[in-house]
């Protein structure tokens, strides 16, 4: 049913329809509305689940870890510092192959404190062994959660659904919320593979000496790579059941005869599409590759759709300080070395700490890379705020 609804509420309703047994979270802006709504849904008896209010995000992650290891479908949500505080558990959950689903309402990281959106938080967890799916809008954010539980449970890998804080979490948009029956048909009950159970005692979380550890990382890496098939299958299944395309590996927009291609992910994609339409009217051919699955990284897809494109610009809301664009590095790595020679892959950082990304800035970016490649540039930088002595 189409509802005019806040993004957080839409996600909460979809998560509830996935019938998690245990939900645990700790308040942090801009994730709070999601868990508040879930607390109400549980409180009203519309979802039969244990909702555990904990004393930190670290505990929230640990509670869902324990719950999942005991056979429950478990869910949490967080942002920014909360995700960083969870970091140790985030790695542990992946290493233990627990199919937990977590929403990251993407937000900047301190210092300086900023409650506003960028994607540095989930980027900081990119190497942990979690599947990371990025939503473009609230419809996709809602749909991705329904897919996430299925992907997680089929692959025994945890899934992080990333949605831009405030821009999506607090935005009211029309969202098609499915009927519970449709979700029940799409998502089978959780059949855990490996649990603590006195009827069949086993150890979970044993320590591995150097004879065994390396293989655990190899297996996890291969499982992450292999999850590509599941992500695609589940997205295709979803389209069949619910009648719309959501998720998957990558999406493209007006790519076919584009002279210049923007690669990006998250909500900024909406603005980029608008720009592409306007520029098309002006006779310029710009295309888009939208990353939906950031981990596993869609390297081969990117290569396949961009192998004939010689001018590419990566726009992202995160940075590896002292290195540059993180997504840009990933995209550059997607092309074989020999093919890189004449291909320009420019890198722009934008929107950090919630800085607006206006259409004019995007237009400036496109016009600049039409002339020359850009190694790294911060879009919308206010030079009057920067003093040489601080550098």
């Amino acid at each position: 049913m189409l509802k005019q609804i806040e993004g957080s509420r839409a996600v909460a309703e979809c998560v509830a329809m996935c019938r998690p047994n245990v939900i645990s979270a700790y308040p942090i802006t801009p994730q709070t509305h999601i868990v508040e709504d879930l607390a109400m849904i549980v409180g009203q008896g519309k979802l039969d689940a244990e909702f555990i209010n904990v004393e930190s995000e670290f505990a929230a992650a640990s509670v869902v870890l324990g719950a999942s290891a005991a056979g429950a479908r478990a869910y949490s949500a967080t942002s920014s510092q909360g995700l960083l505080l969870m970091c140790e558990v985030i790695y542990c959950i992946a290493g233990m192959r627990l199919p937990i689903v977590l929403t990251c309402a993407n937000r900047a990281i301190s210092a300086p404190l900023s409650i506003w959106n960028d994607q540095q938080d989930s980027m900081a967890m990119r190497d942990a062994g979690w599947i990371q799916l990025h939503a473009e809008d609230n419809q996709e954010a809602s749909d991705l959660h329904i897919q996430a539980f299925k992907i997680a449970e089929q692959t025994s890998l945890p899934v992080m659904v990333c949605m831009d804080g405030f821009i999506l979490t607090h935005a009211y948009e029309p969202v098609d919320i499915p009927e519970p029956k449709q979700v029940d048909d799409f998502l089978p009950p959780f059949l855990p593979k490996n649990i603590v159970d006195p009827r069949s005692p086993k150890g979970i979380g044993l320590f591995a000496d150097p004879r065994f550890y390396l293989e655990t990382r190899y297996i996890l890496h291969r499982a992450m790579e292999k999850s590509e098939e599941t992500i695609k299958e589940v997205s295709a299944d979803f389209a069949k059941t619910f009648g719309r395309n959501s998720g998957g590996f990558i999406k493209t927009y007006k790519l076919e005869d584009a002279d210049l291609v923007i690669v990006s992910m998250g909500s900024v994609v909406g603005t980029i599409k608008e720009l592409i339409d306007r520029m098309e009217e002006e006779g310029k051919k710009v295309g888009l590759v939208q990353i939906c699955s950031y981990r596993p990284f869609p390297r081969h897809e990117i290569y396949n759709v961009l192998k004939d494109k010689m001018n590419i610009v990566v726009l992202e809301k995160s940075i590896s300080l002292g290195r540059g664009g993180i997504l840009a590095s990933d995209v550059r790595w997607s092309f074989p070395r020999a093919e890189k020679k004449d291909r320009n892959i420019s890198s722009f950082i934008a929107g950090l700490g919630g800085r607006n990304i206006p259409m004019d800035d995007l237009r400036y970016m496109v016009e600049k890379v039409e002339k020359e490649p850009v190694e790294l540039e911060f879009l919308g930088l206010k030079n009057e705020l920067i003093s040489e002595k601080d550098l």
């Binding site: 245990v22 640990s62 324990g66 233990m96």
Partner: protein, 296 residues
């Protein structure tokens, strides 16, 4: 579940924590963990913190546990146990005994917050602290349970602070059952585990577990050191049921703390040419305060 006095006082030997683990000879924690597992029985899930116990009992592929064992991190055993309990509730499984367990560091320092949260939320979980008064797994560094005067690798001149009083901090959360125990009295320790598991809600048992390596004594003295810890008033034995101190173990003949300190290398520097330094009097004062406070 009501148990008869006979059942409560029976010493359980079920081999749920088996031999062949890699603890040092005379390890108080290994003995305590076995007594706790055997008292809890088969229908138990152990959520163990990183530390000596985890390392010596759970190397892949040959763990020592015959009950389900779940280990995640150093500081989250109580939160993981909370999650296990929540799952059992949500899935209508059980009843099952859920025991979070860790050393003094994972209890009183890095894991304090998770444990406090578990108590405050009222999970039906027993938390067992194996207190060996320092970070033994990493090579005997000071923890907030390290007693006054004790030498550790990070207090080479002797620890300057008093030990954190964890049982009372646990009790002040308003949890229904707190107890202290030592590894020399199997019957008492196991009775307390069985009692705790018969009570709904969060429970805390604090077990003094001598560490021959860190304390500097011969392994065969672990039991004797426990007895002296009790007889000097250094480690009072009591239960706190619904906030009231009860079943205090009386000391028939009070022993000076010197007798306890002298057996342990970590206190050796407190005696110069056999004569006690002023710190010994301070430690005696701590024991005296315990004797007065608990009417030992």
């Amino acid at each position: 579940m009501e148990q008869s006095a006979e059942e409560l006082n029976k010493i359980e030997k079920k081999d749920l924590f088996t031999s062949g683990h890699r603890a040092c000879g005379g390890c108080g924690q290994a003995l305590a963990a076995r007594l706790v597992a055997d008292a809890s029985g088969e229908n138990t899930i152990a959520c163990v913190a990183t530390g000596c116990l985890e390392v010596f009992s759970s190397p892949y592929p040959d763990p020592s546990w015959r009950i389900p064992f779940l280990h995640s991190l150093f500081e989250n055993a109580a939160a993981v146990a909370s999650g296990v309990e929540a799952a059992y509730k949500a899935l209508n499984k059980g009843p099952v005994n859920i025991i979070a367990q860790g050393g003094d560091g994972s209890t009183a320092d890095i894991g304090f917050q998770c444990m406090s949260g578990m108590f405050e939320r009222g999970h039906n979980v027993l938390y067992v602290c194996y207190d060996n008064e320092a970070y033994m797994n990493t090579g005997v560094q000071r923890s907030s349970f390290t007693p006054l005067g004790a030498r550790t690798s990070t207090t080479p001149m002797g620890n300057k602070t008093r030990k954190k009083n964890m049982p009372l901090l646990a009790a002040d959360h308003g949890i229904p059952y707190v107890a202290t125990a030592t590894v020399d009295d199997f019957r008492d320790l196991q009775r307390k585990v069985k009692t705790a598991l018969s009570i709904e809600g969060p429970k805390y048992i604090h077990i003094l577990a001598p560490c021959p390596l860190g304390w500097g004594h011969h392994g065969e003295l672990s039991v004797q050191i426990c007895r002296l810890a009790k007889d000097t008033g250094i480690f009072p034995i009591y239960e706190i049921v619904d906030g009231k101190v009860t079943n205090v173990l009386k000391i028939p003949v009070k022993v000076p703390v010197e007798e306890y300190l002298k057996l342990q290398g970590r206190f050796k520097h407190l005696f110069k040419k056999g004569q006690p330094t002023p710190e010994v009097a301070e430690i005696q004062e701590i024991a005296n305060q315990n004797i007065a406070r608990f009417n030992l």
